[in-house]
């Protein structure tokens, strides 16, 4: 559910946001989500400094490959969890935990970038449409509709297939398909802000067009988008992992959870740890972002109030 569904969404302000955070700090699922996201983020940021296998995290193969006699997968350097490698090793003999933490970095960077780009483009398009109105509004919003009519991932696939897969293509492709939701949200909010008295008062006080947009409309339109950002973090991380799984996203040697799950497909029957751990961390990360967004949305929905 998008927060646009909530009739209360136009009564938004910075203080409502603060108040909501205070109330939500008593919500167990919300706190769980925030805790998991924060600790995973901290761990992944600290990864190069705490992992004994930092170079493997950046993509170097393990030399020599770890040996684990008795395990049928030893040809590939895939070893089960041990004291040296708590989550086991993967196809090039690299420490899976290290790769996963570096993979979470990739996920978070891309998620953040996609969401921030989408917010920036969305705010620009939405506020321009709302402020100027008329045919500009029509043109921008119909273009937005065109983008919205494709499923995000399909459109991203098309873009990636056109420009070729690499680290930056994923940013571009996902950023380009993610903004329409934000544009709609920003337009709705900007329209309601635009009709507020303080906009009229500012105009009467001789504030120019840019002053109205940047000092009055923009700061008052941002609040509902911040929630959408939390909601879309999970979705965009999942989309990126999916694209990488298909080979159209992040390419090795950069660590990526989607790529790891793809590489593990040959070992599903022989090395359970190889698909399970990257998948588990991806699951935890996306779940936590969704929990955060979901709890906030629920809180905002008056139909669910008091439950």
């Amino acid at each position: 559910m998008r927060i646009t569904d909530s009739p209360r969404s136009d009564a938004w302000g910075f203080f409502r946001l603060l108040h909501i955070i205070r109330v939500l700090s008593r919500d167990k699922l919300f706190v769980f989500g925030v805790t998991v996201v924060l600790s995973l983020a901290l761990l992944s940021i600290a990864a190069p400094y705490v992992s004994p296998y930092t170079s493997q995290g950046y993509g170097e193969a393990a030399v020599p490959p770890p040996s684990c006699p008795g395990v049928p997968t030893e040809v590939a350097g895939v070893c089960p969890p041990s004291l040296l490698h708590p989550l086991g090793t993967e196809i090039l003999g690299r420490d899976l935990l290290t790769r996963i933490l570096f993979g979470i970095r990739t996920s978070l960077i891309i998620g953040l970038f996609v969401v921030i780009t989408a917010t920036a483009i969305g705010l620009f398009v939405g506020i321009t449409a709302a402020y100027i109105g008329g045919w500009v509004d029509e043109l921008l919003m119909r273009t937005t509709d065109v983008f919205l009519s494709f499923p995000h991932v399909i459109l991203a696939l098309v873009i990636l297939a056109t420009i070729g897969p690499n680290f930056y293509s994923v940013f571009i492709a996902l950023g380009a398909v993610w903004w329409p939701t934000f544009a709609r949200l920003a337009r709705g909010q900007a329209l309601s802000v635009k009709s507020q008295n303080y906009i009229l008062a500012a105009q009467a006080a001789g504030v120019g067009r840019f002053g109205i947009i940047f000092k009055h409309i923009l700061p008052n339109s941002i609040a509902p988008l911040t929630v959408q950002m939390a909601l879309d973090m999970g979705a965009s991380i999942l989309a990126e992992a999916g694209l990488s799984f298909l080979g159209l996203g992040i390419r090795p040697p950069t660590a990526d959870l989607g790529v790891m799950v793809f590489e593990s497909t040959n070992f599903i029957t022989t090395a359970w740890w190889y698909p399970v751990f990257p998948g588990l961390f991806l699951f935890l990360l996306v779940l936590s972002f969704n929990l955060i967004g979901d709890r906030v949305t629920q809180y905002l929905d008056p139909r669910l109030a008091g439950k």
Partner: protein
């Protein structure tokens, strides 16, 4: 003496979904420097639209058919956006009806006051802050320091309106247009705001246009009163004349409908109201727009729009005062 503001032959049309709405019908008005003009009328009589016309801040569906708004001889209605910005907030400022929504909710009073002071007076840093504090003191706000650090929602309606007035005063404007400044605050605050306006008026050099639906409020502060009905000024004169020797039947009806303390025997009597409703301006009544509600309506009222007649120094748009009668 040259008037500060002169409205000449103003005519506006609004295109709405239901049709064309014709407003002001060649309205003319002038305002002297330091004068307070009260504009009184029911909702929908066009008084707020008149206020917005003065600073050319009209909705997109409004078009100016004819007329001039001259501020010291310069025509505001023919100005470009850039010139308008130099007038708005500097030479002419506005105070709005609902102070709780007229301040930007995400910024502290400090930020909003300082922007106004810096933009309009070119002051910086500590000097600007001192000036802002001084303005808050002038509008009789207690503890201006803590007000500066408050967000708008932390202030009461009366305090917010005082802040709005302080901001309107910041640039030493020649004219302040107050659009129902007391309509959304309670009666005690209303009296306080009115006496504040009176006090400021005595201390400083500005003209004031006070728009209100209450003739009692207008009486408090105005030098002259203009009574508006259905987009036209029907009576314009000195306060005493309008209140005591009112000419137009609509003014008479308005004055009768002011609630006042009465004796016990009269308590059961209904408060007199103006019968009927404000006409739909898309298809206004023929002739005099007040004739369907007027107790003195004559044949000519239905047929012909009355011109202004001069009587006892007042202008009145009513056939009752025609010489030929």
């Amino acid at each position: 003496m040259e008037p500060l503001l002169e409205i000449k032959d103003l005519r506006l049309v609004f295109s709405t979904e239901r049709g064309i709405l014709d407003l002001f019908q060649g309205l003319s008005l002038s305002l002297m420097s330091r004068e307070v003009l009260g504009i009184v009328g029911e909702s929908g009589s066009g008084k707020s639209t008149l206020a917005y016309t003065i600073i050319k801040l009209l909705p997109g569906n409004a078009r100016i058919l004819s007329g001039k708004v001259l501020l010291e001889g310069r025509d505001i209605l023919s100005m470009k956006e850039e010139e308008l910005r130099r007038i708005r907030g500097k030479e002419i400022t506005m105070v709005f009806q609902d102070p709780s929504t007229s301040l930007n909710p995400v910024f502290r009073i400090k930020d909003q006051m300082l922007t106004v002071v810096k933009e309009n007076l070119g002051l910086q840093g500590e000097v600007a802050r001192k000036r802002a504090l001084e303005l808050l003191k002038q509008v009789e706000l207690p503890d201006p320091e803590s007000i500066m650090n408050s967000f708008p929602f932390e202030l009461s309606g009366g305090m917010q309106q005082r802040v709005m007035i302080a901001m309107a005063l910041a640039a030493n404007p020649k004219l302040i247009v107050a659009d129902e400044p007391t309509s959304s605050v309670d009666a005690t605050i209303q009296t306080q705001i009115l006496s504040l306006l009176k006090k400021l008026k005595a201390e400083r050099d500005f003209s004031l246009i006070l728009i209100t639906h209450s003739i009692a409020v207008a009486k408090e502060v105005s030098d002259r009163i203009a009574v508006m009905y259905a987009g036209e000024i029907v009576e314009l004169g000195k306060v005493e004349t309008v209140i005591e020797k009112h000419l137009h039947p609509y003014t008479e009806a308005l004055l009768k409908s002011i609630p006042r303390p009465r004796g016990k025997s009269e308590m059961k009597r209904m408060l007199p109201v103006v019968p009927g409703q404000v006409p739909d301006l898309i298809s206004p009544p023929s002739g005099c727009r007040f004739h369907p509600r007027c107790p003195y309506a004559m044949d000519i009222c239905k047929a012909e729009r009355p011109p202004y007649f001069n009587k006892d120094g007042s202008l009145v748009m009513c056939w009752l005062y025609s010489e030929e009668r």
